[in-house]
Symmetry: C2
Subunit: 364 residues, 2 copies
Amino acid sequence: MSSLPETSVPTALDLTLDGGALTARLVDFPSVSGDEQALADAVEAALRELPHLTVDRYGNNVVARTHLGRAERVLLAGHLDTVPIADNVPSRLDGDLLWGCGTADMKSGVAVQLRLAATLPAPNRDLTFVFYDCEEVDAVRNGLGHLVAQHPDWLAADFAVLMEPSGAMVEGGCQGSLRARITLTGVRAHSARSWHGDNAIHHAAEVLGRLAGYQARRVDIDGLEYREGLNAVGISGGVAGNVIPDECVVTVNFRYAPDRTVDQAEAHLREVFAGFELELVDISPAALPGLSQPAAQAFLAATGGEARAKFGWTDVARFSALGVPAVNYGPGDPNLAHKRDEHVSLAAIADVERKLRSWLGGAE
Amino acid sequence: MSSLPETSVPTALDLTLDGGALTARLVDFPSVSGDEQALADAVEAALRELPHLTVDRYGNNVVARTHLGRAERVLLAGHLDTVPIADNVPSRLDGDLLWGCGTADMKSGVAVQLRLAATLPAPNRDLTFVFYDCEEVDAVRNGLGHLVAQHPDWLAADFAVLMEPSGAMVEGGCQGSLRARITLTGVRAHSARSWHGDNAIHHAAEVLGRLAGYQARRVDIDGLEYREGLNAVGISGGVAGNVIPDECVVTVNFRYAPDRTVDQAEAHLREVFAGFELELVDISPAALPGLSQPAAQAFLAATGGEARAKFGWTDVARFSALGVPAVNYGPGDPNLAHKRDEHVSLAAIADVERKLRSWLGGAE
């Protein structure tokens, strides 16, 4: 009977490590979407050691909270999963840069959450720390979505910070996204006798013309400029090289600013394409930045006072749907997410941790 | 040792049968494209029995000619192959209708050729009978094309009749066909930041607009009206639902009247799409009807004096390329070609044979 082989994969987290070292330990826990259990177990175990927090768990989602009766509650959220590993685990440190899968997206953000959870027993605002699974895969599997559906009370807060990589810039809210299919129809015929048919692709001329001529709106919300866009992201039609096609499908994507609700965005889309058959195939609500909230103002001041609009859709919209204003703020560079050469700066991790600690009343 | 099973597939052709019975025998010789050898052997053997004809063979293509020193030579051509059998062989006779694969397209036409070859030892015009393979498949395999390339002298004539199914109507010449790809390019970007990209699909708006607004020409040639058409037959573009696409390809098909050469047709296409990148992917020349030729005038008179333009591309264009005016004229209904319920009327076979015999100076 042989003994089990030694493994280099960690099984526990030491929250006394600094943010960079803790990020390295988190990266060395493989946690590709769907395989987060070991990491969720370790996070839960480490948090349960902290007497100032209550800890709840649902699936591989862990929520830890203070209950100090403060006037405000703020929430810090991060996902535990990564995209598939690409020969870039375990992590590797080179000077100020830590390389590896998840260093930017977003185990450095999770490390900052864990550091703040461990070192702020008496913050000036009540704190909620959310760690969730399956952010990098289909929306139906998203752990934060499951918490919203099953335990919305765990997520109650006045303001939320999603610690997705933002290059340590505050990115407010996010734009919404609608995808719709416009189907043009006609009558099939042999192309040698095209007058017997009605060309569905030709009918798409008007749809593409409206898209080409569309003037996208720019709008200021809480001092951030949101810039919309309406685009064809796909077109297909054709039966054979000698057939007048009877169908052509144009898929459009409308990215809209967070001053529109989903219904208003849909109404606008239907107005632009009046006269055409339009079917919504994907609906993602926008999220308001909420930067006029007092907690947000203090947060902005602590992080340097600058914010920009977030264009890509993120889970901040899930908080927005609960009535919780939310921003993206994390140490990683968003452009490195999902890349083989993903890395993060130790200085950025330390800087983000210091600013958040300052905002929450801790010593810098 | 058992004897070989009896087979119902014929191995020889009896040219004393009437046109309908001979069509049935031809249908009962399976000769799907690529598998014409047995039928070509039988056709060659039957023709070699006729002392007034010389017979040449190249591959599974058989050419038989009279050499009477007449002022004119006319050519009657037909293909030996069929599309794949669809449970419709052997042939089945029901009243006036003979059912089966190839009855219309075009073993009834071949039967008429063979009947005329066998029964017109002294026609008023020299005759050339051409039987060829692989008409129903890729143009590079077409037996008539191989004869044009290898033995153009065998095809010398003043006028040609291609006995493809035409509903016993004379169909003059054929339209040409050009297929071209128009590629629109742009710059890829995330659709959340669409202003960083340049949408290639939107650029197709102008191309489709020109197609939708195109006024197709109608032109009279030798009393036949040809009607052109310019159509998109395919369009495709798109990378993913959240990406501004950097390429969109529109495939267009221009069916043009035989008063345009290939070069003129291409020049017209480039003029219509001036400003766009256009790549020709398929080129088929048109064929002039040549109905002003003396042999054609006599032919028209013998067949009833009526003709219509041929819109679909046929092998008559191969004769036209050799300088031989050509028409389509055969007993089958072209709309039944390639169908499971393909059939032909015995009366139509007899009628076409009688009219051609009259034109060629035989007794009706």
